[in-house]
């Protein structure tokens, strides 16, 4: 019982939970902001997983301090990796949200299905034109 609830397993379980939640949002939601947030949640989960991979029970923080090197240290590499990954994740998320804003300005919707229809419509077809007009109206108001 104790082993099952050890901190390592908790971390892994939490990571898996986050990933599943994120996947659900990504796969089942039509709203693009939610999908983007889902991606962010997955990234958080994966990062947690990475950190967990470097975890040693009872080890010290991997700070290079001559006085402190007595016991084992937590593996520092995953933490370095996670830092980078978080930065990248934020950048991607920001870019995605920027795009989402611009799309919403132009079309007035962030519904995946509607947007798919626009992007797959043949050039100059009535459908794409109609969407453009409606989107334009939304922008003015």
């Amino acid at each position: 019982m104790n082993e099952l609830l050890s901190i390592g397993n908790l971390l892994y379980g939490g990571a898996a939970g986050l990933i599943v939640i994120g996947l659900f949002a990504v796969v089942a939601r039509r709203h693009l902001i939610r999908v983007l947030l889902g991606v962010a949640v997955i990234e958080a989960g994966v990062n947690l997983m990475l950190v967990a991979a470097g975890f040693r029970p009872g080890a010290a923080a991997p700070i290079f301090d001559p006085q402190a090197i007595s016991g084992p240290m937590v593996d520092p590499i995953p933490q370095a990796l996670v830092l980078t990954a978080i930065v990248i994740g934020v950048a991607v998320l920001a870019l995605g949200l920027t795009l989402a804003i611009r799309i919403h300005r132009q079309y007035g919707t962030l519904d995946t299905v509607a947007l798919t229809r626009i992007v797959n419509a043949p050039a100059g077809s009535p459908e794409s034109r109609a969407m453009m007009q409606r989107g334009g109206g939304g922008h003015e108001s």
Binding site: L23, V26, V27, A28, N120
Partner: protein
């Protein structure tokens, strides 16, 4: 300059380059004729060197494979026919036809040169890789030739292309399989490796290569592309394609069945359940290839389509003859390649001339042209007798050899099948000449003239070859023997006029002489005996009490063999046609499905599915 294969290829590719640059020039046709004649000369000069193989200095090194070329007797025989067909086609296109009759003489000359060059490269291959390269070049060059006139030809060529690519890829798969298994691709190495392989492997290779080569030859059941593709090509292009192009498939099949597998091994390959061996299977497929397209030809309403369907049928005789395996049969099959090329070229050229003058090849819209285009008529008459395989033309000799070989080897049913094909041919070629040249001349055709020399010249010259090689088959058999010995068969015993065998002789010198003499006697009786005949106008004719005027369409051409077709009409099987349509429909459906797959709104769902499936698959 010492003739060598290099010189031949240099001439062929030089011609291609020259036509690319100067194909629009009015003298281009003449120029290419000279170059084809030179190629023919080089080929003749190469003849003594063939026993060891005339190698080319051309060599490439790609990915560890060395590509080089070498001409042997079999390739040489086909090359002679190729260059000859190209020469006469170029002649036909050199004058008025090329200048006025075609959308682009440049396209014709370039594609013809490309075809010849590609075929020579194919025929000079000495390993499977060069063979495949040549094979694909021939396919694409043929495609280029077919599309030049646009319109319905494009659709036909498209169909050809699909078949051709599929066949080419089957060949490719077999080539790679052989390379991986045998470790080498040289013809000799492969032939040495073949006897050791398992039966299943042999079937697989035979199926792949057989399908690949068979498609080019329009072998049953892959026959549906050819007629349209050849028929819709412009006159001389159709003549060239019809005469030789699909024989490249025969060339491949000969290498596969005779050189690689060997007829003896074919006999040992038993089909499961039925107990037939592979050789008999191939022979019956050949026989069906003779019969079915011939009877499809019978119901065609366009002269060129009719001829093209016969072209498919005649291919069956060639393979059938070679598969008999006796000296007579092999020589007959190979001789038929030559003979067929001569008369088929004439027929397409004549129809090219007719189209040039009248603008149509539709068998219901012509008639009576004999008075306006007598030379074309004579050329066609010679050629259809050849195609029908009647004495005194050359088609009779090669067919006789095939029939005789079949009977000698104890295969009377195949013999009967082959003769039925000939009977059908007689019916349909008669329909052709009747509807085009005989009967009533139409008003709109009353003013047309015979085509100029540049067009009737090649027709008449070729039809004389049809007659002379019928009179003296020994002349053509000299060429055939080069190929026959190169294929590993013993040479046939023959003389200038034909053959003396234990079981029956043929002496065309005697047959044709007697026939000519008989006609002399007949002419004596008919022309000298009785009163002199008086020429009447075509409208001065029995009409059951009616007056005939120019408005009356008095030519019986539509639905020519009405009775026969009423009877055999239901026998035309559309199974393969439906199969073809089914495959096309299936592809369309799958294509729409795939397209839809990529248009899914929830993009990540597929990714998730793939990941889960992938993990499930491997863990």
């Amino acid at each position: 300059m010492i003739p060598s294969l290099d010189l031949l290829l240099a001439l062929a590719f030089g011609n291609l380059g020259l036509m690319l640059l100067a194909g629009r020039n009015p003298t281009a046709g003449l120029l290419s004729m000279i170059l084809y004649a030179l190629q023919g000369w080089v080929l003749v000069m190469l003849m003594p060197a063939l026993a060891e193989g005339a190698a080319s200095g051309l060599a490439f090194q790609v990915f560890g494979w060395s590509l080089s070329w070498e001409l042997n007797g079999l390739g040489w025989f086909f090359a002679i026919i190729t260059v000859g067909a190209a020469f006469f086609s170029a002649w036909f296109a050199a004058g008025a036809w090329g200048v006025q009759g075609t959308r682009s003489p440049w396209a014709f000359h370039v594609t013809l040169a490309a075809n010849v060059a590609a075929m020579l490269l194919l025929l000079a291959s000495r390993d499977l890789l060069t063979l495949f390269i040549g094979w694909e070049l021939v396919t694409w060059a043929g495609y280029a030739m077919m599309i030049q006139s646009g319109g319905p030809a494009t659709r036909a060529a498209y169909k050809y292309l699909i078949y051709g690519v599929a066949g080419g890829l089957a060949v490719l798969a077999a080539v790679v399989l052989i390379q991986v298994q045998a470790g080498g691709l040289g013809f000799a190495a492969v032939a040495a490796w073949m006897p050791g392989i398992s039966t299943g492997m042999l079937w697989a290779l035979m199926l792949l290569l057989g399908v690949g080569f068979g498609i080019k030859m329009a072998f049953l059941p892959f026959h549906r592309w050819q007629a349209e593709a050849y028929g819709e090509s412009p006159g001389p292009a159709a003549a060239f394609l019809g005469a030789i192009s699909s024989r490249m498939g025969l060339f491949g099949l000969l290498i596969l069945l005779v050189h690689f597998i060997g007829l003896a091994r074919l006999d040992e390959l038993l089909l499961p359940l039925i107990g037939l061996d592979a050789r008999i299977l191939w022979m019956w497929l050949s026989a069906l290839t003779i019969i079915i397209p011939t009877f499809i030809a019978l119901k065609q309403n366009d002269a060129r389509m009719l001829l093209a369907w016969h072209g498919i049928g005649q291919g069956g005789y060639m393979l059938l003859g070679v598969l008999v395996g006796s000296e007579l049969g092999v020589a007959g099959g190979l001789l038929h390649v030559f003979n067929y090329a001569t008369y088929q070229a004439v027929l397409f050229l004549v129809m090219g001339a007719v189209v040039y003058r009248t603008g149509t090849a539709h068998l219901d819209r012509l008639g009576g042209l004999i008075t306006r285009m007598p030379l074309s008529y004579v050329a066609m008459l010679f050629a259809i007798i050849g195609l029908a395989g009647l004495p005194p033309m050359n088609g009779f000799v090669s067919k006789w050899m095939v029939y005789k070989a079949l009977l000698d080897e104890g295969l009377p049913l195949l013999f009967v099948a082959a003769v039925i094909g000939t009977l059908g041919t007689i019916l349909s070629v008669f329909k052709l000449i009747h509807n085009v040249f005989l009967g009533q001349l139409r008003v709109e055709h009353e003013q047309i003239r015979e085509v100029p020399f540049s067009m009737w010249g090649p027709m008449i010259a070729l039809s004389l070859i049809v007659f002379i090689t019928g009179y003296m088959p020994g002349l053509a058999l000299d060429l055939v023997m080069v190929a026959q010995t190169s294929l590993g068969f013993a040479a046939l015993d023959y003389h200038l006029g034909g053959f003396v065998t234990d079981t029956g002789n043929l002496n065309m010198l005697a047959v044709v002489s007697v026939l000519l003499l008989g006609m002399g006697i007949g002419a004596g009786i008919f022309l000298l005996g009785g009163n002199k005949s008086k020429r009447v106008h075509q409208l001065d004719n029995y009409a059951g009490g009616h007056f005939l005027t120019t408005e009356v369409r008095y030519h019986y051409s539509h639905h020519f063999y009405a009775g026969l077709l009423r009877l055999i009409g239901p026998w035309y099987i559309t199974l393969i046609k439906r199969l073809e349509g089914g495959i096309a429909a299936l592809t369309d459906t799958l294509a729409a499905g795939s397209d839809g797959l990529y248009r899914t709104a929830y993009t990540p769902i597929l990714m998730l599915a793939a990941t889960v499936l992938g993990l499930a698959l491997v863990l």
